[in-house]
């Protein structure tokens, strides 16, 4: 379960590729890439817990909505993140996502802040099935 930032793509934005052995891991690694765009997660405590529940029959749309929800919480709750737990189940061909986010209130004196990401773009946004699991391709508007 990893993510990497892509140097030669998305000039004014940040492109990343994340991977996971299953969808739970893929969503977790994609979220971790986003956490790192906002701030250094290692310097963020797990003092606040936020829960996200979403559903969609399309897995790519579900990932898009999930990552977008993280950016909403960032502004609405003045929060940055350390990590998350992800559980995806399927019911009647609809994916059900339950996530617990761990993080804390933003403190510029304490945290190593990076970019105030604006939104998740749909430009070339995709999830691909690989022989080891799944990869996601995401461009974040900065």
């Amino acid at each position: 379960m990893t993510h990497k930032f892509i140097e030669d793509f998305a000039t004014a934005d940040i492109a990343f590729e994340a991977s996971g052995e299953d969808l739970d891991e893929l969503f977790k690694s994609s979220a971790e890439a986003l956490f790192e765009i906002l701030a250094n997660p290692k310097k963020v405590n797990k003092s606040i817990v936020k829960k996200i529940s979403l559903s969609n029959k399309n897995i790519e749309n579900l990932l898009y909505d999930f990552l977008s929800e993280i950016l909403y919480i960032k502004d609405n709750d003045f929060m940055i993140f350390n990590s998350c737990n992800v559980k995806i189940t399927e019911l009647d061909e609809i994916y059900q996502l339950k996530v617990t986010l761990h993080g804390e209130k933003i403190n510029p004196k304490k945290h190593e802040l990076h970019s105030d990401a604006k939104a998740i773009t749909l430009h070339q946004f995709s999830i691909e099935k690989t022989k080891n699991g799944y990869n996601s391709f995401v461009i974040v508007d900065i």
């Binding site: 793509f9 998305a10 909403y72």
Partner: protein, 489 residues
């Protein structure tokens, strides 16, 4: 995988500064694509520009050409520097053609101070503004507005700010569209968008957003008469330029409507080559709802820049111990570069309403345009072209030629040549900050990695961009402005 073109498409020369990718290049193109740039800038453009501008050329109802300006580079959906106009009756509207930062734009304020006056106090004034104009991840503004007041802001833009003590009456006229988009409808905006943005009035954001103190050196005055009309009257005069938009409020509106449009593509019988170009017929309910919600975000952005101007006036007044009026802190202009607007143009001999999308492009109206305030009627619309923090920025004016050729559009900045990820691996924020100070530019930043991403070398040569659009005749250069201090988000 991220897909990139492996080779450049066929590009035909129209003249030294206009290049065309023929309609036959890609299946589905409704019109050719045109790039307004010098050969040097064209040759430096990443292949993503050509792919994206030709994707835009496939959208239904597009008129004349899909355009990319001289500062163009790969964006998401539209290229940055992208312009496209769609038939208002049969064409579409696309949130991706406006961008997530709805009404991201520039504001310029003059002073009657010169470089000599400000130099001894530069650290003091910048450190003060760094505190009073918050920037970076999760910054909160100084304004405490309730939901009803925020709705008034969505309706009235700059006028709300001025009516509530955050500006001067004459500031209203010194904005594109008088700082207020008329068709805003707050019922089209979600509670989530409001709660995301309500605390962010008065904040800069991050990325390429900044607040800069600049100097107009006499060597950089290219058109003395127009410079005076744009408030640049003295040698070494100091001005303040800043760049920001509708913050999380606009980002949320754009995200929600993009998803709504995507879900309705099938129903609307529309197909796009990239989901970021998800669109809806302008006349459809979704299309109209987005247009009205977009206007709410645009007005919030106008108000945001206006309250930041108020903070700048307060800051200068405190540090220089004089009134903002005596210090000549006059608002010169405020222009958007991420917006869609219904406009009328002569196409194939007939006047026609179109929805012009500008994604990283500025409006360029020639002299006597009805939308211009009286003081600028004879010179055309002011154009604020923000450059990198190490090189400089420009003021230009609009032209009739832009009205005729490019749906009244021109470039918006210098445009990037290097990705943020690459810039971070090549530059170190702390080192850059020191180097800039050695060269006389005092920089404060919330994020050192964010500062590294904005290194001057990550951008095109702005003089080349300005010369391109000047020589093409889609805007005329007036003044070059050199930074002496910069606040980065």
């Amino acid at each position: 995988m991220f897909k990139t073109l492996t080779e450049r498409p066929p590009i035909n020369k129209i003249n030294d500064f206009v290049w065309e990718i023929p309609q036959s290049y890609k299946e589905g193109m409704q019109v050719p694509a045109r790039i307004y740039a010098s050969k040097k800038l064209l040759d430096e453009m990443d292949l993503g520009v050509f792919d994206q501008v030709t994707n835009v050329a496939c959208l239904p109802g597009i008129q004349k050409y899909a355009y990319c300006m001289a500062d163009g580079h790969q964006g998401y959906g539209f290229p940055i520097g992208g312009v496209a106009a769609f038939d208002a009756e049969t064409g579409v509207i696309s949130p991706g053609g406006v961008g997530f930062d709805i009404n991201c734009g520039m504001k310029l304020c003059t002073t009657n101070l010169t470089f000599k006056d400000i130099q001894p106090k530069i650290k003091e004034i910048v450190d003060h503004l760094f505190k009073t104009v918050p920037s970076g991840v999760g910054s909160k503004g100084f304004m405490n507005v309730n939901k009803n007041q925020f709705k008034d802001i969505m309706q009235d833009g700059v006028k709300w700010a001025v009516d509530n003590g955050y500006g001067w009456t004459q500031d209203i006229g010194r904005c594109e569209a008088q700082g207020k988009i008329e068709w805003a409808d707050t019922s089209k905006v979600s509670d989530k968008a409001i709660s995301r943005g309500i605390n962010q009035l008065g904040t800069l954001g991050s990325g390429n957003h900044y607040l800069e103190i600049q100097v107009a050196h006499p060597d950089n005055i290219f058109d003395k008469n127009n410079a005076v009309k744009l408030g640049i009257k003295e040698p070494e005069q100091v001005v303040i330029m800043f760049h920001c938009g509708s913050r999380g409020f606009g980002h949320q509106i754009a995200t929600e409507y993009l998803r709504l449009f995507l879900d309705n593509m099938k129903k609307n019988n529309l197909k796009v080559l990239d989901n970021e170009l998800a669109c809806a017929p302008f006349t459809s309910k979704e299309g109209q709802d987005y247009y009205k919600a977009m206007a709410c975000a645009a007005n919030m952005a106008f108000a945001n820049r206006q309250v930041i101007l108020h903070r700048i006036r307060e800051g200068f007044s405190k540090i220089f111990n004089d009134t903002p009026e005596n210090l000549g802190l006059e608002s010169i202009w405020d222009n958007c570069h991420n917006i869609a607007r219904r406009e009328k143009y002569k196409i194939d001999g007939k006047m026609k309403w179109v929805i012009t999308h500008r994604k990283g492009a500025t409006k360029s109206f020639g002299p006597n345009h009805e939308e211009l305030p009286n003081e600028f009627k004879d010179i055309g619309s002011p154009i604020i072209l923000g450059g990198s923090m190490q090189t400089g920025s420009y003021l230009l004016v609009g032209t009739k030629k832009a009205e005729e050729e490019t749906f009244s559009s021109t470039a918006h900045g210098s445009g990037r040549v290097m990705s943020r990820t690459k810039a971070k691996s090549q530059f170190r924020g702390e080192k850059l900050q020191k180097e800039m100070w050695d060269k006389g530019i005092y920089v404060r930043a919330m994020s050192m990695s964010g500062l590294a991403e904005e290194a001057g070398l990550a951008y095109k040569n702005i003089s080349e961009v300005v010369d391109s659009i000047h020589k093409t005749g889609i805007s005329n250069k007036v003044v070059g402005l050199v930074p002496i201090a910069n606040i980065k988000g």
